[in-house]
Amino acid sequence: MSELLAQAQELLARVGDGEEMEVFLSRGVETEVQAYQGSIENLSSSSSAEIGIRILIDGPQGARVGTAHAGSLDEDAIAEALFNARDNAHFATEDEFVAFARPDGVAAVSLSLCDPAVMATSMDAKVAMAIELEAMVRGGDSRIRQVDSANYSDYLADAAIASTTGISAALERSGAYVSVEAIASDGGEDQTGWGLSVGRAPGDLSLETAAGDAIRRATRMLGAVKPPSSKGVAVFDPRTAATLWTILGSALSGDAVVRGRSFFAGRLGEDVASPLVTLIDDPTDARHFAASPFDAEGLASRRNELIVQGRLQQFVYDTVSGRRAGVSSTGNAVRAGVSGSPSAGCRALQLVSGDCDQEEIFRRVGYGVFVESLTGVHSGVNPISGDFSVGITGLMIRDGVLAEPIREVTIASTLQRMLLDVLYVGNDVQWLPGTASAQTLAIDGVSLSGS
């Protein structure tokens, strides 16, 4: 048993009469380096530990839960959190569906998510990567005028969750990233491009990929124009497609569905998407950056088929939203850090790949817009109504190939329409940080607002 899990188990002894208790512990070490003009701009190294406690009290009309968290595992911090969680529980409304997770017999897969090389790599080597990344971008193209930031960061973290209802789970993970933002300039016009590479340890990272992406994206935007308004096909690159799947994933949350906050509510079994769309949530797939053997309630992760050939097959649930809907948890409890109670969410989305690469999609589409970046996703996409309107940058597609770059335009449709209007799915899957992987995606019927 991990040290952290043992500590979590030990804390359960403090449960009071008539209570259930859940303890969530997490700790980590992080390094972050930012390079600028050939030297270190910022270097930070830190460690942190956090605790989240939930207390459940059963009553005649159901259970009540109170939560509290603290940014330290000191005894006085733990004592205060426990006191507050217990006090908070008394103010919730009794709810027959509220309960803590109980072991459900599903075995957790074994995943290797932690690479000790994160710790074994020297600080000097990490600093050198950030500095080299900046130099590669500055030297990669004469039109690169500035590198706003070139970053290396990594972490090693472990977490444990234990409850008086029998939950006992621990996991360890590591991650390493490089990212860089370049500004290209030509005749007084500036354009930006961003590149990244992710892995579980420094050795997984490709500086060439990150630098190349930033340079290509920034330089090929030079000369961008504001195109006239039109309606037609939008082709999303894997990065922007991943954002779309993440938003759609939030509407597939059983929590949103049972609360009447999803346009998918009441549509199980219906054709909600093009037959090309088979969407799976699978945190047991180690290729996915968000892979994990357990969910945020400590239940085993599992593979869930959400949309199969366009047909809405199922939603994702945690324990409480599952009880409200009369189904079992699908192992999809998620929470932001250690604070608060979990809710249901997609964890590792992947779309089943199509049969063609990006160039082939351009060729088949003939005329349209290629989307390389999205802005205003938080302000212009409403996952409850389905309204979708975002700013983009990208390039026109003419005669089946990329043509002039475009800027200061929006694309708009509704999420409902976009799913039905999927024309092509690429085979160029990218495993990205976040909760969705993606491949190039072509969607019809999208309004482009420009001049």
């Binding site: 930006t192 109504s385 309107s389």
Partner: protein
Amino acid sequence: MRSVLAATDGSLKYMSDTLVARDVVQRVLNESMGRGADFAEVFVEDRSNASASLDQRRIQELSSGRSRGAGVRVVVGETTGFAHTADLSESGLLTAARAAAAVAREGRGGVREVKLESLRDYPSRAEMSPADVPKAKKIELMMRADEVARASGDAISQVQVGLADSTRRFLVANSEGVFAADDQVRTRFAVSCVANGDGGMQTGYRPLAATRGFEFLTPESIEEAARGAAQQAITKLSARPAPSGDLPVVLAGGSGGILFHEACGHGLEADAILKQASVYAGKVGEQVASSLVTLVDDGTMTGEWGYLAVDDEGRPGARNVLIENGILTEYMWDYLRARKEGRNSSGNGRRQSYAHLPMVRMTNTYLLAGDADADEIVAQTPRGVYVAQLGGGQVNTATGDFVFGATSAFMIENGRITTPLRDCNLIGNGPEILKRVDAVATDFSTTPGTCGKDGQQVPVGCGQATMRLSGITIGGTAT
């Protein structure tokens, strides 16, 4: 750290006035400078959060959080070393100081004795501290908001109410002698509604937020927020798709200030300026906006969401005029960027928590009111869009291109506000759009927001009076 565990009003609290004693701060700074550094700073923070949520007529959950810790930064030449710790003992702080100072590799050597000024301690202006408010009292307000929202119309199918407060006490000291402490109390209340109609679901949202205590939330303001959120969702049930393309846009007073936050606010932050990553770099003294635009960033607006007595570097909050009658007059500065230019910080050094490095951030950013009449501005717009509420935005400071989202908008036809429109983003280029401000009214008001930059979130205020843009691209679907 002198802290005792004591029970007051049934809740445990650490009682500590100074967070960390003066002599300890002094020794930590000396240690930070010891390997040869140009600047060192210790930031100690103790934050308590409480939140409560109501959903489906039930008080779903109350949550409490506590985090205490310190961040130490050490600057050597152009390099900053940073380390943070949750261990506020002297040994914990010294360990963080040595980790931060490890960037001073060349070792200019020599201990430098730091002389701290006498503590400048700014008390909270909250009249009712969150810790003194019975939880039952908070719940009562939330239940009331739920009732009022549901009573606003049969179409309301879901109501969510959230109440959150935070008490943030910090102490900041640096090698130049700065020694200051601040108590910041913030309270936030929000109502979200879903309305159900034949054409699907629509949403309404109203936030109330201030750098004040519980006294800020009155039954009247809560009821108004609940009614506003419900009405917005119901009105949008009959919304039609927003237009696609360029039209004149009238922005209602308040949340329209987000336009300036995005169109030029971020671009006037000195970190972007010094890296030549802003379209406004090198433009001081130039006409960058219509002469109707006078833009101010003001940390001294007591009670506003972006108010601060001192910033997170110990610099008093200030009122800074950024654009005056269309002429760019000044950027916003934190300590580090100001030091490079041999000038003073403008009081804009902020950080999300002790675990983050400070950077240049806005406080309350607003457009000064003009002298036009708000109704007249609409009446003199033959065809356009009236935006009653904005929901956020985003900018690329290097290109100046920005978006902002309309969460409540209407068509203007023949000088009258008519059909409601579905949610959409508007897009423009900062320097071009600022020149298209062709009317500003007198009805100034502000709105709270959360600003994210490089992964750090800080509370900010935005403000303006009703104003018009002669044209901007609206990202709808209707042609």
